[in-house]
Subunit: 430 residues, 2 copies
């Protein structure tokens, strides 16, 4: 029986993992798909570079067209990263009737719709499980497992670097900068960590997840983003006293037909399952109207987990090829996009204030909250750190973001307010 | 376009849930499948019974053949439970070329192979996601999501009743009997809780999971089972002092080509994600060679979660119908069954002994362990509770089950051993 031929774009750590898995699991792949699988050609930058896998020299090429225009190649696996060139390569592959598997979240967050349309137009599969949360089969879970349910909310820890940093900060009581350095030394953070620590990487994944989960085209620009660079060890310590764990949480929330998608540092109630997701692990907590609460947990990155997700997608493509049903599994968004406005986004908030330690100050503060009908769940009065100043930590009951932001403006204007030290969303309680 | 017609066997709480979901999600189903879906006939015991859904009287029948032999019915959904009659009904449905979706773990654990063969012979789908862990898409995760990986171990909390009981015992320090009564009052335990508390229900699910995960036909009789009825609040308290949480854990473990499948009360290291799975929730922790550790978490039972899993399976069947590829997704076991023997099963163990408080007793005990080359990870010397007696809690390093059982026999034979109070497996550490 004719083997299915793969073209691989990129041979970094993930690409190398893909090559190894396909080599090591020939039996299992054959059992599932019913025919052999072979990698025919690999696009690399430098043919002579020393590599961790032994591939014949003639399998390597520096010319993408050797793959994109080879009629014998059935499936293109993209693990080269990048956006503009890669987009053109994948459009070319699809237009040449090649199925595509990609791990590229940057590309899918920006041009997912365009690529999915091209796939559908050409009767090709375009699978991208590996682009969200590495080895966790979350996209498949959303599409197939919860096919008959209505997903109303997703909360995700979808960036391993920031989760590693926050876990270490909480465990060791260390400062952000110090832990970032450690994470970089251990290889859990890049030398330029901006995309991770500023929340952009998580935002890309939330755009992909919410588009699929809500069947609504959510663009990267629709995702409100705040990173973890301002979090202090004192914040974590105060949170701990209140029973909270700090996580960088991506939230996608649907009420009626309007959504909010955001990424921000969030205090989670300690008993919430996401609060136990530590180190570089990722997890996505999904609320379904009928199923209730489910969670998908696993490694969010790493070359082998990501390569596993890619080969699982490849198996899906190959099964479809054998059945002759490629290009049918893409589900186009069913609903028009409607974003929530600030008065429709409701949450609890943690607020830490430095104020003058004078009579009446606390009364002034609470009266501002009262004007907006926002009440408190918890109040922490802290020992005075500087002479004449007091620190107050407040946790609100549910309030609209609009009210909360109006309150912040008024608090800032108070003569007695020295500084708004920090402010975080609180999630995970009823 | 012609609607797809469903026949429903059973209209209890899960069946009612299925009817409601299909009614409420017509739009979403239509969007995914591309044609309408309708329930044509429902098998009930008593047509005149008051019900939570309004179905036309002529849709109800007490004669299974009205469904099994109706050529217009495409898919049979089985939610009536039971084994022998139900098996005949489903064989009849498959032989009449009807696809089957079932939530029946008893049936699948006993006759899964026979039914899957009948499905394959007739070109029909037989899906059973709802039979394991209610609303968690774990079977799909194993088959599709980890398609390219080699699963080496699964640990599952797959029974909600026992997890609810153990959670309450740990939280309140209450005795088993007391908490069982509370669980029965709250509807989390049946009036006859035997199948749950003796571990049989979990064993059925582990048979199904391990058959699929290891691609090896594991029978219910292959699963070693121990229930939770002997667990005391003192055990939980001692475990807590050592940093352990008690769970009823189903283990399916593969080394080389041999497996162990068991269900038993197990002390989990508190930091293990399964230790945070509380109340009636279920979770399955999966170790893949490449992907590493992933976890699937969610409601293990309940009418709506189970109904959701059923309708998700139904969507799978209907998509296959539209594509004309039914009967192709069943993967027959690839490997011959090989079970581990006691000397090949390795684990850590927690042992609690009541011994005479005499000189040399502890030395005698430890020398028995030494003879079998088993060493200790933790030792807890407890205050004497009865005059002349001492209580000792030991946690071993990894040992073979054979050695451990030999040690227990020798300890029991010691004149100074008053009682072996309890003995549990310990999991979740490296």
């Amino acid at each position: 029986m004719k083997a299915i031929s793969i073209g691989l774009l990129g041979l970094g750590t993930v690409g190398t993992g893909v090559v190894k898995i396909i080599e090591n699991h020939q039996d299992k792949l054959m059992h599932q798909v019913g025919c052999p699988v072979q990698i025919k050609k690999v696009l690399v930058k430098d043919i002579d570079k020393q590599r961790d896998v032994s591939l014949n020299r003639e399998m390597l090429t520096t010319n993408p067209n050797d793959i994109l225009q080879d009629p014998e190649i059935d499936v293109v696996i993209e693990v080269m990263g990048g956006v503009e060139d890669t987009r053109q390569h994948l459009l070319s592959a699809l237009n040449n009737k090649k199925h595509v598997v990609t791990a590229n979240k940057d590309l899918m967050a920006l041009y997912g719709s365009e690529l999915l349309t091209a796939a559908s137009d050409n009767g090709c599969d375009l699978f991208y499980e590996a682009s969200v949360a590495g080895g966790i089969p979350i996209l498949r879970g959303l599409v197939d497992g919860l096919a008959s349910d209505r997903i109303t909310k997703m909360m995700g820890i979808v960036n391993g670097t920031t989760n590693f940093i926050l876990t270490k900060m909480a465990q060791d009581g260390s400062a952000y900068e110090e832990v970032l350095k450690e994470a970089q030394d251990l290889g859990f953070a890049e030398s330029d960590p901006t995309a991770d620590v500023e929340g952009l990487d998580a935002a890309r994944k939330m755009a992909i997840l919410s588009t699929l989960g809500f069947s609504m085209k959510i663009d990267l620009d629709d995702v409100k983003v705040k990173g973890i660079t301002d979090i202090t060890e004192e914040d974590l310590e105060y949170g701990k006293q209140l029973g909270y764990t700090m996580k960088l949480i991506g939230i996608a929330d649907l009420d009626d037909d309007k959504v909010e998608v955001s990424v921000q540092p969030t205090f989670l109630v300690e008993s919430h399952p996401l609060a136990s997701v530590h180190n570089e692990y990722n997890a996505v907590y999904v609320y379904g109207e009928a199923v209730g609460e489910t969670m998908f947990y696993g490694p969010g990155a790493g070359s082998l987990p990501t390569a596993t997700a890619i080969v699982s997608d490849l198996v899906g493509v190959m099964k479809n090829m054998r059945l002759g049903v490629n290009g049918t599994s893409a589900v186009t968004p069913q609903y028009p996009k409607k974003l929530k406005e600030a008065h429709e986004i409701r949450s609890k908030y943690f607020l830490r204030l430095l104020v003058r330690d004078e009579v009446g100050v606390f009364a002034n503060i609470t009266s501002i909250f009262s004007e907006h009908h926002v009440s408190f769940e918890k109040i922490l009065q802290l020992p005075v750190k500087e002479k004449g100043l007091a620190e107050i930590v407040l946790v609100t009951h549910h309030a609209s973001l609009q009210d909360y932001e109006d309150i912040l403006v008024k608090l800032r204007d108070l003569e007695t307010t020295k500084q708004i030290k920090s402010s975080y969303r609180v999630e995970g309680s009823k």
